[in-house]
Amino acid sequence: MNRFYLPLVLFLVMVLEGVALELLPVNITSGKSLIISHWVLICLVFSAIFYDDEESNYSLIYAIIFGLLIDVVYIHVLGVYMFTYAITIYIIKKLTRLLHSNLASTLLFGILGIILADWLIYLIFTMIGYTDLSLGDYLIYRLLPTMLANIIFLILIYPILSKKFSQWQVGYSS
């Protein structure tokens, strides 16, 4: 039963992303800076750190599945989030071996993940012509506010998810 909780949490977070903009005040959303909620990615980072062990690759599989779901539901260009989330989680999974899992390392991996994923998304969208923002503008108006907002989210859910994910880890309770 425990193995169904992780996809359920990810699905719920993905659905919540759709109303994320409603929660912010209008003067922030209509301003020049762009805040993108990468909540699913944050949860995937948590699962890479606390849910997966050395051998299992659940976080990577879920990164591909939920990346594709986000593409279908929110982006309507298939592959963008699937590819970026998969690569980001793959790299973070490789790095988790180097550090102990605690708040500081989760923060570090979270920041790294958001920068990497969002930058890859910027790169792909620039290539297919969905945006013509210059790199400097992108860094100031999109990457910085996005990173700050998502880090706040990460710190807020850290106490719950870090505990729950290590509890749900396959083989922990059974």
Partner: protein, 293 residues
């Protein structure tokens, strides 16, 4: 070790190939979504509509608190307006009746102004800000089709981008590009309407570019209302799009481009109306529409 590296590189390359194929497939001008995509959209859409109601309740509550502070001043202003409207409503009714009578006498029953409206609620907004799309809770079952206009009480907000059985995606005006033009007009005396096409949305000026293809554009003023002209074949005529903010000549000085500020607020959309034009465009016009609107 080198074998392991090679394998990793191989997987990365395959991943990039899949990415390119998928992007190429979805950027193609598709008439409809695949069944799998529709199924996923509907399932997630159902969950979204469940979540949206309580979230909306709370956000509404906070805006209400803010609104209460302004109530007194607004009330004063609205009272004045209401008294103006009373006479206006009477006039409009008279004109409508007269219009209908005249139409009947001419035996013209269909007009490009007529439309059936489909009420819908926004259930989510794309978290990716470069994709200006919202999802609404009505789909093919309710009669929503691709390219239909979507309006709110204030004016046009966008058009239907894609549909599935129970939900559909709306492309907002802020996300309009070169390929989604609306033929629009500014009302003048008969035969002298200023007509043109709205082109892409300009992020820097927060306005739509309205390219005037007519020569009667000398007396264009600020704050004039731009409405859809219905000549594109899919949108009905008379939907308000926005107000003229500024007029600039193009680089050769031959045509003029007006910057239009959309009259609807793109960041605060709850309830929308999907507009189904009663008068069908001919097939030729529909083909134009692919490039046109």
């Amino acid at each position: 070790m080198s074998l392991f590296r090679k394998k990793r590189l191989f997987i990365l390359l395959i991943g990039i190939i899949i990415l390119v194929v998928l992007i190429g497939y979805s950027l193609r001008d598709r008439d409809r979504l695949t069944t799998a995509e529709q199924f996923v959209s509907d399932t997630v859409g159902w969950a979204q509509s469940v979540i949206y109601t309580p979230v909306n309740f709370f956000t509404d509550m906070f805006t209400n608190i803010g609104d209460i502070k302004k109530t007194y001043q607004e009330n004063q202003l609205l009272k004045e307006k209401v008294s103006e409207y009373k006479t206006l409503i009477y006039e409009v009714q008279e004109l409508k009746e007269e219009n209908e009578e005249l139409r009947e006498s001419l035996e013209v029953t269909d007009s490009i102004r007529d439309y059936n409206s489909i009420q819908a609620t926004v259930i989510s907004r794309s978290p990716e800000r470069w994709i200006d799309q919202v999802t609404i809770n009505k789909g093919e079952q309710a009669g929503v089709k691709k390219n239909m206009a979507v309006i709110t009480a204030e004016g046009m907000v966008g058009k239907i981008q894609s549909t599935s059985k129970f939900t559909s995606t709306v492309q907002l005006l802020t996300g309009f590009d070169q390929n989604s033009r609306i033929s629009a007009s500014i009302s003048r005396k008969k035969g002298e309407d200023i007509v043109g096409l709205t082109e892409e949305y300009d992020e820097e000026n927060h306005s739509l570019m309205f390219k005037i293809i007519d020569e009667s554009d000398k007396d264009l003023k600020e704050d004039e209302l731009v409405v859809s002209s219905g000549l594109g074949g899919v949108f009905p005529a008379g939907l308000p799009i926005g107000k003229v903010k500024e007029v600039i000549p193009d680089q050769y000085g031959l045509t003029q481009t007006a910057l239009i500020e959309p009259s609807a607020d793109m960041y605060d959309i709850d309830h929308v109306i999907v507009v189904d034009r009663t008068l069908e465009g001919t097939d030729d016009m529909m083909d134009d529409e692919e490039e046109g609107e």
